[in-house]
Chain length 453, copies 3
Amino acid sequence: MATSYNETTEFIDLKKDIDDMFLLINGIIVSFMQAGFACLESGAVRTKNTTNIMMKNLLDLFICSIFYYLIGFPLAYGNGNSFIGMTYWAGTGFQESSLAFWFFQFVFAATAATILSGAVAERCNFVAYIVYSGIISGFVYPVVSHWAWHEEGWMKNMGYKDFAGSGVVHALAGIASFVAAAFLGPRKGRFPGQPISGHSTPMLGLGALLLISGFLAFNGGSLGQISGPGDSELVARSMVSTIFGGTGAAIIALVFGRYLSDAPWPFSFTLNCTLAGMVSVCGGPEVYNSWSAMLVGAIGSVIYTGFHLLVTYIKVDDPLDASPLHFGAGAWGVIARPIFANDGLIYGNIDNFPTKISNNIIGLLAIIAWSAITSIILFGALKVTGFLRISEEEEIIGLDLSKHGENAYPSSAWERTSSSWVEGDILANSSDCKLEKINYDNYAFQMEKRHER
Amino acid sequence: MATSYNETTEFIDLKKDIDDMFLLINGIIVSFMQAGFACLESGAVRTKNTTNIMMKNLLDLFICSIFYYLIGFPLAYGNGNSFIGMTYWAGTGFQESSLAFWFFQFVFAATAATILSGAVAERCNFVAYIVYSGIISGFVYPVVSHWAWHEEGWMKNMGYKDFAGSGVVHALAGIASFVAAAFLGPRKGRFPGQPISGHSTPMLGLGALLLISGFLAFNGGSLGQISGPGDSELVARSMVSTIFGGTGAAIIALVFGRYLSDAPWPFSFTLNCTLAGMVSVCGGPEVYNSWSAMLVGAIGSVIYTGFHLLVTYIKVDDPLDASPLHFGAGAWGVIARPIFANDGLIYGNIDNFPTKISNNIIGLLAIIAWSAITSIILFGALKVTGFLRISEEEEIIGLDLSKHGENAYPSSAWERTSSSWVEGDILANSSDCKLEKINYDNYAFQMEKRHER
Amino acid sequence: MATSYNETTEFIDLKKDIDDMFLLINGIIVSFMQAGFACLESGAVRTKNTTNIMMKNLLDLFICSIFYYLIGFPLAYGNGNSFIGMTYWAGTGFQESSLAFWFFQFVFAATAATILSGAVAERCNFVAYIVYSGIISGFVYPVVSHWAWHEEGWMKNMGYKDFAGSGVVHALAGIASFVAAAFLGPRKGRFPGQPISGHSTPMLGLGALLLISGFLAFNGGSLGQISGPGDSELVARSMVSTIFGGTGAAIIALVFGRYLSDAPWPFSFTLNCTLAGMVSVCGGPEVYNSWSAMLVGAIGSVIYTGFHLLVTYIKVDDPLDASPLHFGAGAWGVIARPIFANDGLIYGNIDNFPTKISNNIIGLLAIIAWSAITSIILFGALKVTGFLRISEEEEIIGLDLSKHGENAYPSSAWERTSSSWVEGDILANSSDCKLEKINYDNYAFQMEKRHER
C-alpha cells in the first residue's frame, strides 16, 4: 500500500471538516426554529402579552448558552458515570475540535427550553422565566441527554433508542410544560369559558412553517455526521420521515378535525397536529420507511388530541398546547420506534421486540419521572417563593405594559398621521392641523384617481 | 498506479455524501420558500381570508408529499418511456441512495403547487384546493419533469434545455393558475372596480425576501451535485444569475413603474417585477453572464407587465398575479436561454441557434398545451361538480370564518384588556372593572413619566 | 510517493468544491439577514412609513449587486495598489472560479448598505436612498475592504486584524448612519419630546431573531473556507463567539436595562444590546474563548448604550439606533481583539500588544475618517441639491402614501366584510347589505356555539 500517512491524514481531516460543516449549517438552520417559536407563540397570545413572549424568545438562545456552557454540556457530554458527566465544567479541558458538536447540541438544548415558554404564556413572571430556562437547559435536559446519548449513559447502554429526542427533548419538555402550567394555574377567564384566541393566525402560520423547515435540520442533523459510508442516506431518510410524519398527521387533522370543531377545516388544530406528527417521528426518523413515518405521525396526532382533551378537561391551561403536543407525541415517538422501525415489530421481528420496547418504555418512564420530579421542585419552589406568577393586576393590564413598558402595537404608531408631532415645538400651533387635513385630502383624491385606472 | 480499490471507493463515497449534503441543505432552504409564499400571499389578501391562505400554505408540503410519493416521483423519475416513468410507484423498488435527490425534487414539486394558491385566493373551495394541489404536484408537473429532465424524456432527448424550471415549473404553474382563475371567476367587486388591496405590505415584503433567499437555493441546487470538476462554479453562477435577474427587473420597475401607477415608486409592482426577473433566469442561470442575466430579468419583468395588463383587460382575477408572473416570465425564460446563454445567439453562435430555439419553443408549446388541457379538465370538472368556488354568502363573510372558524385577527385578542375574564367566575362582580380602570390609569401615568426621560 | 498527479488534482478539486459550497450556503443564510433587517426596521417605524422601509429592504440586494459588480468588487478585490483595486471592472477578466467568493462578499456588502436604512427611516427621499445605497456598497465600503482584507491593502499589511468586519462593516456603516441622520435632521416631533414608538414589537423581535441566525453565517463564513486543517474549528469558534457575544450583552441588558427605563425589563433596549454584543465580537470571533466573547459583548452593549445616550443628547434622530449600535459596538470590536484574543493582552502577551492595538486603532481611525469624509460629501451633496429629505407635507402624510401609493395596512382590506363589492355591478342593490347582515349574524351564532364546547 503506497498511500503515505500524510495523505490519509488529509483525507481524515477533510471528512472532519465536512462533518463539522454539516453540524454547523444544520445548527444554524435549527436556530431559525427560535424565530419559528417566536412567531408561533406571539400569534397564539393576546396583544397585551405579545412583547413579553417575543422578549422570552429573543433571550432563549442567550440564557441557554450560559447555562449550557457552565454546567449543561458538562453534565451531558462530560465523562463521569452512567448518570451524569463531570468534566468540561465551564469549558475546562474541552477540545476545540468538538466545538461544532457543542454548537449543535447547544441549539438542541435551547429548543427544549423554548418549548416551555408556550405553556406558561401570558401569566408567568419574568424572573421565573429566566430561572426555569436556565435550569431546564442547564440541568434537567442535559442529565437526560447524558443518560440517552452519551456512551456512558445507562439508558444508552441498556438499549434505549431515540434518534432525535422524541423522549429526551419532547416528552421531557412536555412534562415540564405540564407541571409549569399546572403550578401557574389558568389565565383569568379561561375556565369556565371559551378558549382564549391568539391575536394573529398569520404569525401562527409563519411560525409553524419556520418550525417545519427547521425540523428538517433538527432531525436530519441528529446523526451528527455525514461523511461515513451510508451516512447521507440516513440523513436524507430522517428528513423525509419528518415530512411524512407531518403528512400522516395532516391527513388525520383534515379528516377528523371537523369533529372537534364546528368549523369544517380548523386551522390551529391542523397546525398543531402537523407539529405533533413531526415530533412523533423524532424517535426513529432514520429507520422508518415512508409509510411507517406517516402512520407514526398520524397516530401521534391522535394521541396529541387525546392529551389535549384531557388537559382541557382537568382545567390545566396551556396556551400553546405545549404539554399535550410535546409530551403526547414525544412519548408516543419513543414507543413507536420499536414497532415501526425497519427492523421492528411490523416487519415481523418479534424476537427482539419485547426487549426493545421495554428498553424504550423504561427509558421513557425514567424521563417522565426525572422531568416531573425536577419540574415539581423547580416550579413548586418558584410558586412558594412567590416568583412564579404575576399579580392579578399585571395580568389584567398585560405583561407588555407592566413588565416591559412596550405595547406590541402602540396606538401612536398606528394613527394615520401621528399626533406626536403636534406636541413638538416646531408644529405647535393649530394651523398645522389644517395643513395636514388639506394635504391628506389632496392625497386621498390622488389615490382615488389612481384606483380608477 | 498504487491506489488501492478501497481508497477509491472511499473517495467516491465521500463525493456522494457531499452531493447529498448539497441537495439536502439546499432542499431545506427551498422549503423556506413555503414560508415566503405564505407571507406573500397572506399579505396580498384581505383579513377575512388570511387564515385560509395560511392553512393552504401550511398544508402544501404535506399534500404534495403524499401525491408525489405515490405517483408523482414515479411518473417523473421512474423508468418507462419518453412520456412517463413507470417504476417506483409508492416507493416500490426505490433505492435509498437516491433519497436526497427525491427530497430535493419533492420540495421543487411542492413549489409548483404552491404557486397556484395565489391565483385562486379568496374564493376557492377548500376541497378543490386539496384536489388540485394533489393533481398538480402528483401528475401534471411530474409528467413534464419526466419529459424535460429524465434521461428518457422526449424533450430532453430533443434538446430542450431548462436548468431550473423556467418552463417546467413556472410556465406550467402559470398556465394552471390562469385556467384556475378563469374558471373560478373574479372575486366579488373586482370588475368593474379598483384592484382589491391586500391587508399587509410588511407581510408581502417579508414574503418576497424569504422567496429571494430561497430562490438562490432553488436555482443553485438545480445542478443536483457539487462534487464534480467545475460544479461549484456552475452553482455559484446560478446563484449570481438569480440575483442579477432580479436586479435587471428592479431597474425596469424603478424606471417604468411610475407610468403604470400614480405613485412615484410603486411597491407591489416592484416586488412582482423582481420576482419575475428571478423566474426569467431559471431557464439558464448557469450559462448567463452577469449582463445577460440582467437583460433576461429586465425583459422578463416587461413581459410580466404586459401579461398583467392583458389578464386584467380580459377580466381574469388573479389576486397574486401568479399567472402573468410565472407564465410570462417563465415562458420568456425558456426562449431567452438560446439567445443569451454563453454559447447563444448574442455571442454570435448563429449556426446552432435555430435548432436550439426551436427545441425550446417546441418544448414550451408542449408544456403550455399539457398544462392547459389538464388544467381545463381538472378545474372544469371541479366547476361542473360544484366543488370549485365557495358560495356568495361565504365569500362575503370570508373564508376564515366560514371554512375555518378562526378570524386572522380576533378582536377579543386585540382589546387592551380582554373582556373575556369578565365572564369568568373569579371576577364576576362589577367592582373588578373599577380595579382594572384604576390600575390601568396608574400604569398609563407611569408610562407617561417614562416617556419624559 | 505513488500518488498520481491526477489523484491529487481530484482531491484539490474536491476541497475547492467544498469551500465553494461553504461560501455559497453561508452566503444564502447571510441573505436571510435582509429579511431580518426588513422586519426589524418595519417594526421600528410607524405604519405610515412601513411600505417605504419594506421597499428599501426589498431593493437592497439588487441595488448593491449592480454597484458592487461594476465598481465595488473591483475596488475591493481587484489588483491595484495598497489603496484600491483596479481590475475586474464590470467583471472584466474575472475568473469564474472565484464566483463563490464574489457571492459571499456581495451579500456582505449588501449588509453594510442595509444598516443605513434604519438611520434614515421615515424621512429620507427615495432617490437619495438609491444614490447612497449604491455609493456605500459600490465605493465607500469596498475601498475599506481593500485596505483591510486584500493582500495588497495597507491596513492588512500593517497588521490590522478584523475577522468579520467589526470595523470594516459595522464602524463604517455606523459612521455613515450618523452622518446621514445628522444631515437629515430629526423626524417631526422627535425633539423635544418622547421617543417615537415603532408600530410592531413582533416584527422587531422576528427581525432580531432572523438577524441572530444570519449573524452565525456572517461571522462563521468570514473565514472563506473550511477544507484546510483546523478550518472547521475556527468556523465553529466564530459561530459560538457570536452567540456568546450576544449572551454577555443580554446579561448587561437584563441587569442594567431597568435603570435606563421605568419598565423592569425593557424589550427594545435588550434587543439592541444583544445585536450590539454580536457586532462587538465581529473583530475576532475566531480567537475569543467563550468568556472573552461574553466580556467583549457585554462591554460592547455598554458602549452602545453610551453612544445611544450621546446621540440622543445631541439630538441626532436615528430611529433604529443604527449609528450608536453599529459604530459603538463595531469600533469597540476592533479595539477588543488585541485585548481579548487568545494571544492577546489578557493572556499576558504584553510584548506584541502595543503594536497590535495601535495597528487596529490606526485602522479604525482611518475607517472613521474615510467613512466620515465620504459620507459628509455624499449626504452633504444630497442635502444641498435638495434630494435628501422629503417635504414636511410628505412626512406628515407618510412615505407610504406620498411615495408609494400603498398603505401598509389598507383599511379596505381590514373591514370584516369589504365594502368594495358594494360598488361592484353584481351586488349594487341595497338588499345585499341585508343579506350580508343576516348571514353574518348566522355565522356569529354558530361561532358562539362553537366557543361553548
